[in-house]
C-alpha cells in the first residue's frame, strides 16, 4: 500500500476506534495514539522522501499512485508528494498531535469532539496529498464542514454566530473555487482529447489566455478567502476567537495554509499568464492584509483576537510572497506557511491554557503571570519572539527570505509594496511586546491568580512539540529550504516561462 494513502486511512481508523471507546480517558488515549502514529508516519515520510531524492530520483512527484475513479469524467484518485507537500504534511501532523494534547481535558461530548477534530485533520491530509483537482476539492470541503460543529458546540463567546459566519464565508469561497476548477477542467487538454483533473497533466497544457483571465480571480479569491485575503478575512478573527483551543490551532495553523498552498498549486501554477497580469491587484490586497492585520492586532484587547489578527497579517504575507512569483519569495512563502503554522498553533495552545486557568482572555485584566506559571510564560515569550522575527527562530528565516525575494523585483511598484509590507515587522513587535509586557510581567492584578498552577505534563508535551519544531527550523533552515527549493524549481520555471507578457506596472 502506498504510504500516502495511510495518511487518510489512519485518521479514519482512529475515528472508528473512537466509536468503540466508552469513556473520556480511552477516547483521548486512542486519539493520541492515532495521531502519534500519524506523526511518526510523517517523520518517516520526510525521511523516505529525502532518501529518495538523494538517490537521484528527480520525478516531480514521489510516491505517485493513480487509480481511476470515474472513467467518464476522467476523475482519478491520484496522489503524490513533492517537497512542499511533504513539509505541509509534517506541519499538519505536528499541529494535530499537539492539538490532541491541548484538548486533553475536553469532557463535554468528548467522543464527538475528537471525531470531528480528526475528521478535519483527515481532510487536510487528503488535500495535501491529492494531485487530482477533484479529490483535492473534495478534501478541501471535507475539512471545512466539521468546523461548524467544532466551533458551535465546544466554542466560547458568540460561538453560534462565529461558526455560521466562518462556515458560510468559507463555503462561499469554495463556490468561487468550484467555478475555477470546472473551468480548468474544460480547458485541461487540447480540444478533442480527453479532459483531465490531474494537476501534472493540466500543467503541461496551456489554458487559453482569455479563459485564464476569467478564471484566475475565481481561483485566487476562492483560496484567498481561506488564506484570509483582505477584504474576505473577517471570518478569521471571529472564528478563531470563538473556537476551542485545538480547533483554533488547527485552523489557523493548518487550514489557513490550504489557502496559500492552493493559490500557488492551482491558481498561479496553472494560470501563470493571468497571474502575471492580475498580480498587481492582489498584491495590493495582500499588502493591505499584511499591514491591516498587524494594526488590527495592536488595538485588540482579547488574546485570541490579537492572535487571529496576527494570523491575518502573517497569512497575508504568504499570499504576498506567492504573488511575487520568484524562487526566493516562493521559498519564503512555504517556510512562512510552516513557520506561522507552528507559531500560531503554539500561541493558540498557550492562550487556551492560560484561559483555562484565569478564565479571562482580556489582557488588561491579567498581569504578572510569569511569576505564577513560569513555564507557560517562557514559552509564550519565545513564541512571541519567533512571531516578530527574531533570528534563530523560524519566523526570521521565513520573513527574511520573503522580503529578499520581493525586493529582487527592480520596479518601483514591487519595491514600494515590499517596504510597506516590511513595516509589519515593526508593528508586530509592538503588539507582541505589549502583550508580553502586560500579560506576563508587571504586578499580579488579581489575587485569585496566585493560586494558579503551571503547565501539566500533557500541556508541556503539546507546547514543547511545537516549540522544538520552531527552534529546529530557526537553527537549521537549510534542510527545509533545500527540500522546498528542489520542488519549486519546475514550478517557478513554468510560471516564469510566460513572464514576458505585458505587466501593468
Amino acid at each position: 500500500m502506498n504510504i500516502l494513502s495511510l495518511f487518510i486511512l489512519i485518521p479514519l481508523l482512529t475515528i472508528i476506534a473512537i466509536l468503540f471507546t466508552s469513556n473520556m480517558k480511552q477516547t483521548r488515549v486512542v486519539s493520541a495514539i492515532g495521531m502519534g502514529i500519524q506523526l511518526i508516519l510523517a517523520g518517516l515520510l520526510v525521511f523516505l522522501y529525502l532518501t529518495e531524492r538523494n538517490t537521484g530520483n528527480t520525478a516531480a512527484m514521489l510516491f505517485y499512485y493513480d487509480a481511476v475513479w470515474f472513467p467518464t469524467l476522467n476523475i482519478h484518485y491520484t496522489i503524490g508528494v513533492d517537497g512542499i507537500s511533504v513539509a505541509m504534511i509534517a506541519l499538519t501532523s505536528l499541529v494535530v498531535f499537539a492539538g490532541i494534547f491541548a484538548s486533553w481535558m475536553v469532557d463535554y461530548l468528548y467522543r464527538e469532539f475528537f471525531i470531528s477534530l480528526i475528521l478535519l485533520a483527515s481532510g487536510v491530509f487528503g488535500f495535501f496529498i491529492s494531485l487530482d483537482i477533484f479529490t483535492m476539492f473534495l478534501f478541501y470541503e471535507l475539512a471545512v464542514i466539521p468546523m461548524y460543529l467544532l466551533i458551535g458546540l465546544w466554542g466560547s463567546g458568540p460561538k453560534e454566530y462565529s461558526a455560521m459566519k466562518l462556515t458560510l464565508m468559507l463555503m462561499a469561497g469554495s463556490a468561487l473555487l468550484f467555478v475555477a476548477i470546472l473551468g480548468i477542467y474544460f480547458y485541461s487538454a487540447p480540444a478533442g482529447s480527453q479532459l483531465t483533473f490531474n494537476l501534472l497533466e493540466i500543467a503541461k497544457n496551456h489554458i487559453p489566455i482569455e479563459m485564464q483571465r476569467f478564471l484566475f480571480p475565481f481561483a485566487f479569491i476562492g483560496f484567498g478567502v481561506l488564506g484570509a485575503l483582505f477584504p474576505f478575512h473577517t471570518w478569521s478573527p471571529d472564528g478563531h476567537a470563538s473556537a476551542p483551543t485545538a480547533v483554533s490551532m488547527l485552523h489557523a495553523g493548518v487550514l489557513m495554509k490550504l489557502g496559500g498552498y492552493g493559490v500557488f498549486r492551482i491558481a498561479i501554477y496553472l494560470m501563470p499568464e493571468a497571474a502575471h497580469e492580475q498580480a498587481w491587484i492582489f498584491l495590493i490586497l495582500t499588502g493591505i492584509s499584511v499591514v491591516y492585520g498587524a494594526f488590527g492586532a495592536v488595538v485588540q484587547k482579547d488574546l485570541k483576537y490579537i492572535n487571529a489578527y496576527s494570523s491575518v497579517s502573517h497569512c497575508g504575507l504568504v499570499l504576498f510572497a506567492i504573488l511575487m512569483m520568484n524562487q526566493t519569495a516562493l521559498n519564503g512563502a512555504v517556510i512562512q506557511m510552516i513557520s506561522h503554522g507552528l507559531m500560531t498553533a503554539l500561541f493558540f495552545a498557550l492562550i487556551g491554557m492560560i484561559y483555562g486557568r484565569t478564565h479571562t482572555r482580556l489582557i488588561n485584566e491579567m498581569g504578572g503571570l510569569m511569576k505564577v506559571m513560569p513555564f507557560l510564560g517562557v514559552v509564550y515569550v519565545i513564541a512571541g519572539l519567533a512571531s516578530l522575527g527574531l533570528p534563530g527562530l523560524s519566523g526570521f528565516v521565513a520573513e527574511m527570505t520573503i522580503f529578499i525575494g520581493s525586493f529582487q523585483h527592480t520596479d518601483t511598484f514591487h519595491r514600494v509594496l515590499t517596504i510597506v509590507a516590511t513595516s509589519s515587522i515593526v508593528i508586530t513587535a509592538v503588539y507582541i511586546l505589549r502583550v508580553v509586557g502586560t500579560l506576563l510581567l508587571g504586578p499580579i492584578k488579581n489575587d485569585h491568580f496566585l493560586h494558579l498552577t503551571d503547565a501539566l505534563w500533557y500541556e508541556k508535551l503539546s507546547t514543547l512539540t511545537l516549540l522544538l519544531s520552531i527552534a529546529a527550523i530557526g537553527m537549521a533552515p537549510l534542510w527545509l529550504s533545500d527540500m522546498i527549493n528542489f520542488s519549486l524549481g519546475p514550478i517557478v520555471e513554468k510560471i516564469n516561462s510566460v513572464a514576458t507578457v505585458a505587466h501593468l506596472f
Partner: protein, 475 residues
C-alpha cells in the same frame, strides 16, 4: 400479445396486479385484521422491486406508443427503490387508529400513481404521456387528502387537484398545438420536423409550463408549500421525491428528443427559470419553521439545480440529472424519514421542537445531519457528487456564471440546513423530544437511506452505469 410483450410491460402490469390483489385481500379481511395489509403490501412491493432489477425484455409496443429500454428500466427501478423506502417509513403512521379502515387505500392510491409515472417514462407519444400524467396526478390528490378529517389535509387535496387541473390544461393546450403544427403525436416524428416556427415555440412553452408545474419550478411553485404542509408527512415525501423525480425524468427525455431542434431556445428559458427557482426557493426556505414546509421549499431549490443538468444537453448532462435524482431520493427520504418518525411518535413538526434532539435521540439526529449535509452537497456524502456532476454538465455548456450562481445558492442552502443541525446539536431545550424507539421497518428505511448517502458517491460504477444508458441531444 405474446409473453414477451407482457415481459416488456412488466413494471406496469405487476403493479396493476398488486393493486387488484391488495384490493381483494382487503375485502376479505375483518376490521380487526386490517393491519395485516401493511406487511403483505410491503412484501409484495419488495418482490416487485426485486423483479424490476432482473434482466429484462426491451422493445416497443402498441405501434410506438410504449417503449422499454435500458434507460426507462433504470428510471423505473430508481423510482421503485424510492417508493419502497417511502412505504417502509410510512408504517408507523399507517398503524395509527385514525387510519384503521383505509390502510389499503394508501397502497392502492400510491401504486396507481406509480403506474402512471411508469407509463409516462415509457411513453413514445404524447397521448401515452398525457394518460400517464393524469393517472399519476389524480390519485395523488386523494393521497394528499388522506387524513381528510383534518382540514389542512383536505385543503391540500383540493389545492393539488385544482392546480394540477390547470397545469394539465396548459400542457394539453400545448400538445394540441404540437399536433396541429406537425400532424403527429409520436415523439420520433415530431422530433424530426420540429422547428422554431412561432406556434411551435409557443407550444413548447405551454408544454414546459405544464411540466414546470409538476416539478414546481418558480414561478409555478405556489401550490407546493401548502400542499406539502397539509398532506401527511409520508405523502409529502412521496410528492417531493418520487413524483418530482419522475417528472424530471420525463422532462429531460422529451426535451432531449422531441424538442432537440430548439435546444438553443429552451436552454435560455431553463437558464432563467433555474436562477429564479434556486434563488426564490432558497429565500423562502430560509424562513420556514415547519419541517415539512422547510423541506418543501428546499426541494424547490433543488429542482433549480436539476435544471442545470438538463441544460448541459449532452450525455453527461443526462447522466448527472438521473444520478442527482437518485442521490436526492436517498438524501431527501432520509430527512423525511426522520421527520416522519418523529411526527408519527410525537406529532411534532416544528423546527423548534428539534432543539436539543441530540441529547435524547442521537441516532435520528445523526441521520438527519447526514441527510441535510448530503442535500447541501457536503463531501464525502453522495449529495456532493450529485451536485458536482450537475454543475459539471452546466459548465460543459459554458455556463460558468450560472454555475457560480448555483454554487452560491448551494451556500445559502447550507445556511438553512445548518440551522437544522444547530437546532439539534447546539440549541438548548428544557423539554427535548423524549427518547423513543422507532419500529424496525422505519429503521430499515432509514438504514437504506444512510447506506445510499454513503455509498452512492464512492461507488463510481453506478454513475458509469447510468452514463452507459444515457443519451445526448440527438442531432
Amino acid at each position: 400479445m405474446s409473453i414477451n410483450d407482457f415481459m416488456t410491460m412488466r413494471h406496469e402490469l405487476i403493479l396493476a396486479a398488486l393493486v387488484l390483489l391488495v384490493l381483494i385481500i382487503d375485502m376479505n379481511l375483518k376490521k380487526s385484521q386490517k393491519q395485516l395489509i401493511i406487511p403483505i403490501s410491503l412484501s409484495l412491493f419488495f418482490i416487485h422491486t426485486v423483479v424490476g432489477f432482473l434482466p429484462a425484455q426491451t422493445g416497443v409496443l402498441f405501434g410506438g406508443m410504449y417503449h422499454t429500454d435500458a434507460l426507462t428500466l433504470l428510471m423505473k427501478n430508481i423510482l421503485n427503490v424510492g417508493v419502497f423506502i417511502v412505504l417502509l417509513q410510512s408504517t408507523t403512521w399507517l398503524k395509527h387508529s385514525d387510519n384503521g379502515d383505509k390502510i389499503s387505500e394508501f397502497y392502492i392510491l400510491l401504486w396507481s400513481t406509480l403506474i402512471g409515472m411508469n407509463f409516462m417514462i415509457s411513453s413514445g407519444d404524447f397521448l401515452m404521456l398525457y394518460l400517464g400524467l393524469e393517472l399519476a396526478t389524480i390519485p395523488m390528490a386523494a393521497l394528499a387528502a388522506y387524513t381528510h378529517h383534518q382540514t389542512r389535509s383536505a385543503e391540500a387535496g383540493i389545492k393539488l387537484i385544482l392546480s394540477s387541473a390547470l397545469s394539465s390544461g396548459i400542457l394539453l393546450f400545448g400538445l394540441s398545438m404540437i399536433y396541429g403544427t406537425t400532424g403527429s403525436i409520436y415523439f420520433d416524428t415530431i422530433g424530426a420536423v420540429y422547428s422554431n416556427a412561432p406556434l411551435q415555440v409557443l407550444a413548447f412553452i405551454f408544454f414546459f409550463t405544464g411540466m414546470a408545474f409538476k416539478i414546481s419550478l418558480v414561478p409555478f411553485h405556489l401550490w407546493t408549500a401548502d400542499v406539502y404542509e397539509g398532506s401527511p408527512v409520508n405523502v409529502t415525501s412521496y410528492f417531493s421525491v418520487i413524483s418530482k423525480g419522475a417528472s424530471v425524468f420525463i422532462l429531460i427525455m422529451v426535451m432531449y428528443t422531441v424538442f432537440h431542434s430548439i435546444a438553443y431556445l429552451w436552454k435560455d428559458i431553463a437558464y432563467l427559470i433555474a436562477v429564479m427557482t434556486m434563488t426564490i426557493g432558497n429565500l423562502f426556505a430560509l424562513r420556514q419553521k415547519n419541517m415539512k414546509r422547510f423541506l418543501a421549499f428546499s426541494s424547490i431549490a433543488q429542482a433549480g439545480f436539476i435544471l442545470l443538468g438538463i441544460m448541459g444537453g449532452n450525455k453527461i448532462g443526462m447522466t448527472a440529472t438521473i444520478y442527482f435524482v437518485l442521490v436526492y431520493i436517498f438524501s431527501n427520504l432520509g430527512a423525511f424519514g426522520v421527520v416522519s418518525a418523529i411526527s408519527a411518535k410525537t406529532g411534532k413538526e416544528s423546527m423548534d421542537d428539534y432543539d436539543g434532539l441530540y441529547s435524547t435521540n442521537p441516532m435520528l439526529t445523526l441521520l438527519m445531519m447526514l441527510s441535510v449535509f448530503s442535500l447541501a452537497g457536503i463531501p464525502p456524502l453522495a449529495g456532493f457528487f450529485g451536485k458536482f456532476f450537475l454543475f459539471t454538465s452546466a459548465a460543459s455548456g459554458g455556463y460558468y456564471w450560472l454555475v457560480f450562481i448555483a454554487v452560491l445558492n448551494a451556500t445559502i442552502s447550507l445556511y438553512y440546513y445548518l440551522l437544522v443541525v444547530k437546532a439539534m446539536f447546539i440549541n438548548k431545550n428544557e423539554t427535548p423530544i423524549a427518547f423513543f424507539k422507532s419500529d424496525n421497518l422505519t429503521r430499515a428505511g432509514l438504514l437504506i437511506c444512510t447506506l445510499g448517502i454513503f455509498i452512492l458517491g464512492f461507488w463510481s460504477q453506478i454513475y458509469e452505469f447510468i452514463n452507459s444508458v444515457s443519451f445526448a441531444i440527438v442531432n
